[in-house]
Symmetry: C2
Subunit: 192 residues, 2 copies
C-alpha cells in the first residue's frame, strides 16, 4: 500500500488556505505553499494537483470551516436580529484583528479570479448562496414571528442585508474604525 504520508491532509490544506488568504493567488508561489505546509513540491502536487487545483481545494476548505461558522451563527436560537448582529460583529472582529487579517478569502477570490476562472467563480458562488440562504431563512423566520418587518418580502430584505454585510467588510479593509462599523450594524438592524 505504499509509503505512509507524513502530513495530515486537512492540516496541510489549512496551511495552504491561510497562505492564499494572506497573499492572494497570483502572489503566492508553489514554493510558498511548500514552505507553509512543510511539504515538498512533489508531495503537494502528488496529493492535490497543480497550483490552481490547490487553490480550489483551499476555497473549499474555507467554505467548510469559515463559511460554516457564518451560517451556523444564523441558525442559532433566539432573536433573529441578534443572529444577524453576531454575524456582522464577528466579521468586524476578524477584519480588524491584530495582526491585521486579509478580510474574507472568498471576497478576495471573487475580486481576483472570479471573472476569469469559471471554476473559481463556481466555488465562490457556493459560499455566497450558502450565506444568502442562511440569511433568508433567518429573516423569513423573523417575519413569521413578527420580529422582522414585512414591508418587503424576504428575498429583497435578504439582498439588503447582504449588501450591507459585504459592504461592511469592504469598508473594514480601508477604514478600520470599529465604532463606525458597529454603527452601521445597528443602523441596519434598526430598519429591519
Amino acid at each position: 500500500m505504499g509509503r505512509p504520508r507524513k502530513f495530515d491532509e486537512t492540516r496541510a490544506l489549512t496551511a495552504v488556505m491561510h497562505t492564499f488568504w494572506q497573499r492572494g493567488y497570483e502572489a503566492t508561489s508553489t514554493r510558498d505553499l511548500a514552505e507553509s505546509t512543510g511539504m515538498g513540491l512533489s508531495s503537494l502536487s502528488n496529493a492535490f494537483g497543480d497550483k490552481r487545483r490547490l487553490y480550489l481545494r483551499a476555497l473549499r476548505r474555507y467554505y467548510e470551516t469559515n463559511t460554516a461558522v457564518q451560517t451556523e451563527l444564523l441558525e442559532q436560537p433566539g432573536p433573529v436580529k441578534d443572529r444577524v448582529r453576531n454575524l456582522m460583529v464577528q466579521a468586524i472582529d476578524i477584519d480588524l484583528a491584530d495582526p491585521p487579517s486579509s478580510g474574507c478569502l472568498i471576497m478576495n477570490a471573487s475580486m481576483e479570479m472570479a471573472n476569469t476562472d469559471p471554476e473559481v467563480a463556481q466555488e465562490v458562488r457556493r459560499h455566497f448562496t450558502a450565506v444568502e440562504q442562511a440569511v433568508r431563512s433567518a429573516l423569513a423566520e423573523g417575519q413569521r414571528t413578527g420580529e422582522i418587518t414585512r414591508d418587503q418580502d424576504a428575498a429583497t430584505l435578504t439582498h439588503h442585508v447582504l449588501s450591507s454585510y459585504y459592504g461592511l467588510r469592504v469598508l473594514a479593509r480601508v477604514q478600520p474604525d470599529r465604532t463606525a462599523l458597529l454603527n452601521v450594524v445597528e443602523t441596519l438592524l434598526a430598519k429591519l
Copy 2:
C-alpha cells in the same frame, strides 16, 4: 530639449489603468503593459518608473476620472435620493456591462494590495474618502431640506449608504441579477 515623446502621457496611463483593472496587479506583466500602450519596456520605465510606480499612477488616473464621475453625480442639483440612486445604478451598469467589466479598480486594489502596500493603501483611501465626503454632504443637504430622515446623524447615515453601495458592487460580481440589485437600491432609499 531632447527627442520628443512619441506617446500621449494620459493616453498611455489610461491604457495601463485598463490593463491593471482587467487583470489585477500581480497577473499583469510589464510586457502586457508595453503591449497595451504600444510603448517599449524602457520607454515605460523611463517615463513612469517601475511596475509598482506605474500601478500607483494608474490608481491616481482612476481617481481623477472614474472616482470624479461618482462624486459629481452626488453634487448634481435635484433630490438627494435621485443622486444616490444615480450613483448606485451607474455602478450596476458598469458591473453588469457586456463584455463583463472587472468591477471597481479601487475595490480590487484594496483587496489585492492595500493590506501589504502602504502607498497603495493611501491611494485607495483617497478614493474612499472622496466618495464618503460627497455622500455625506449630499445627505446633510437632504437632512436640511427635510428630504432625508434625521433619525441618525449624517455620519452614521453615510456609512450606512456606503456599506450598501460597496456591498452592492460585491454582489454584482457574483450574482449579476439586475432586478435584484435595483431592488437593493430602492430598499435602501426607502429607508432614508
